[in-house]
Symmetry: C2
Subunit: 292 residues, 2 copies
């Protein structure tokens, strides 16, 4: 029986780690910006530094999720088919070939439907955690760089849709004609206006141009543009929601992102609950620990 | 009677200029990257340098279109209402207050409808030029950073829709997760696949995520991603086309952009003709010259 396990959510641009004991109880936590891109070519040394920083005992098993298992990461791990239940993830871990002993990668999921593909890598661990925390089947929304809407049925991924929401928002803030207008702070009114615009299902490139035009033409306060664009992009996800019996869903992510999604969801008639992603990740690590 | 006129299409990030004689015959042309942003705070000196470079005689009238007349430009010029015919633009020029004599700005148009705004600044000069060249009412598409679909009726702007197409494409190429896949060159097959995907009217942020997922999952050649994204964004404009009797439209822009739009249009059943934007601009300058 192993006493503790180190879990790393190793994404493209940053990573978070938790040392957990039985039941997924968090013993120590850690975060830095040494994502899979930054650590490229020196993954072993980077992992060693993280273990030192967290004072992880030699021989502690390590489980890594996220982009670290992609083609651009340390070792590419094949996606699981969506017919594999999340509860089978502990038996589906893939040993790392070129690293310390007892080091594993969590496989993501790939959904192929209608000639189109959708994928997740990292979110599967959070979803397993949600189940471990006692949440059941239903709709989950995981906001982020690539926001995901996931329907769980019988503990399996039944439906997966990803949106470039967070990434697109960041690109629009960094450069281009909207960026100078997106310096304003949060505005509840702007967020709501953007969300309501999204329910009209406009062509997104048209609505994004108009986000500036409406400020230029004096129809809206330019200071609200930041939140208007946020509401437009997040609202687009809600407006495109797959068929669901009740407008009831679980938000699973970082608190600040969940707050934005909950506001937009509430305005559009959704009943959103909310699970902290870090807590879910630790609960999943508890499941992995049981198998060690 | 004035013998020549200098016209400047002075955009946000670059400018093009033509010295024209009677009938809009081009006598000299010029282009540089001293857009309205770069020239900020020293517009008069920047204009003087352009005139020297083009050997423009003192006292030659100057007509400037584009972002130079915006709130971020040299002097803000109020938008015209869409009820003003394009042929009235020569009588609607606005004298520059703080510059050389006989220097004018062309006002753009603003369309207010359904609580939303759409605007153009610079394109009105090209559209006047298209009319001057003998083209009539109907649908015009002006591809670019902010692509515009314009319906002319009785020589007036009856309908205006702008899309952030070119700007979004540039942002996606510059940064984010799609950028590394957008290094490939032009692919006719990729362009067509993206255009066909657009006809299904997917949520754009979902289709953009899937543009990477389909390559990662082996459903498409990653080398085609550049053209696939181009086809998706341009195809989105065609798929959202306003009601039109015939699928017949005039492309008005730079040749390389018109070629991409013509390919996508042809694939989606549109009959596209094509007018060179520089030629149209010169024809409009001929009209301005007549009024001097």
């Amino acid at each position: 029986m192993v006493a503790a396990l180190l879990g790393i959510d190793w994404g493209t641009s940053n990573r978070r780690a938790w040392l957990v004991g039985a039941g997924g109880v968090c013993l120590r936590r850690y975060a830095d910006e040494e994502g899979a891109l930054a650590a490229r070519g020196r993954y072993a040394a980077s992992l060693q530094a993280l273990c030192r920083a967290m004072q992880v005992a030699d021989g502690t098993p390590i489980v890594m999720s996220g982009a670290i298992g992609s083609a651009q990461g340390w070792q590419e791990v094949a996606y699981l088919d969506c017919s594999v239940p999340l509860e089978r993830l502990p038996q589906s871990l893939v040993p790392l070939r070129d690293g310390p002993a007892a080091c594993f990668l969590v496989p993501g999921y790939c959904q192929l439907a209608g000639g189109e593909a959708d994928v997740m890598r990292g979110e599967e661990t959070q979803l397993l955690g949600a189940l471990a925390l006692g949440h059941g089947d239903g709709w989950y929304v995981l906001p982020g760089t690539h926001s995901k809407w996931v329907l769980l049925g019988d503990g399996c991924v039944r439906h997966l849709v990803s949106y470039l929401t967070g990434e697109l928002f960041a690109l629009l803030r960094q450069g281009g004609t909207l960026a100078p207008l997106m310096m304003g702070g949060h505005s509840g009114q702007g967020l709501l206006a953007g969300a309501l615009r999204a329910t009209q299902k406009p062509v997104l490139t048209q609505a994004l141009f108009a986000a500036r035009a409406r400020a230029v033409a004096g129809l809206a306060d330019p200071q609200q543009t930041y939140s208007y664009v946020s509401g437009l992009l997040v609202g687009t996800e809600f407006a495109a929601r797959p068929q669901m019996d009740k407008h009831c869903l679980q938000l699973l992510g970082a608190p600040e992102l969940c707050a934005t999604y909950a506001s937009v969801g509430a305005a559009l008639g959704f009943n959103c609950s909310w699970i902290d992603a870090a807590q879910a990740h630790c609960a999943a690590l508890g499941r992995f620990l049981e198998q060690m």
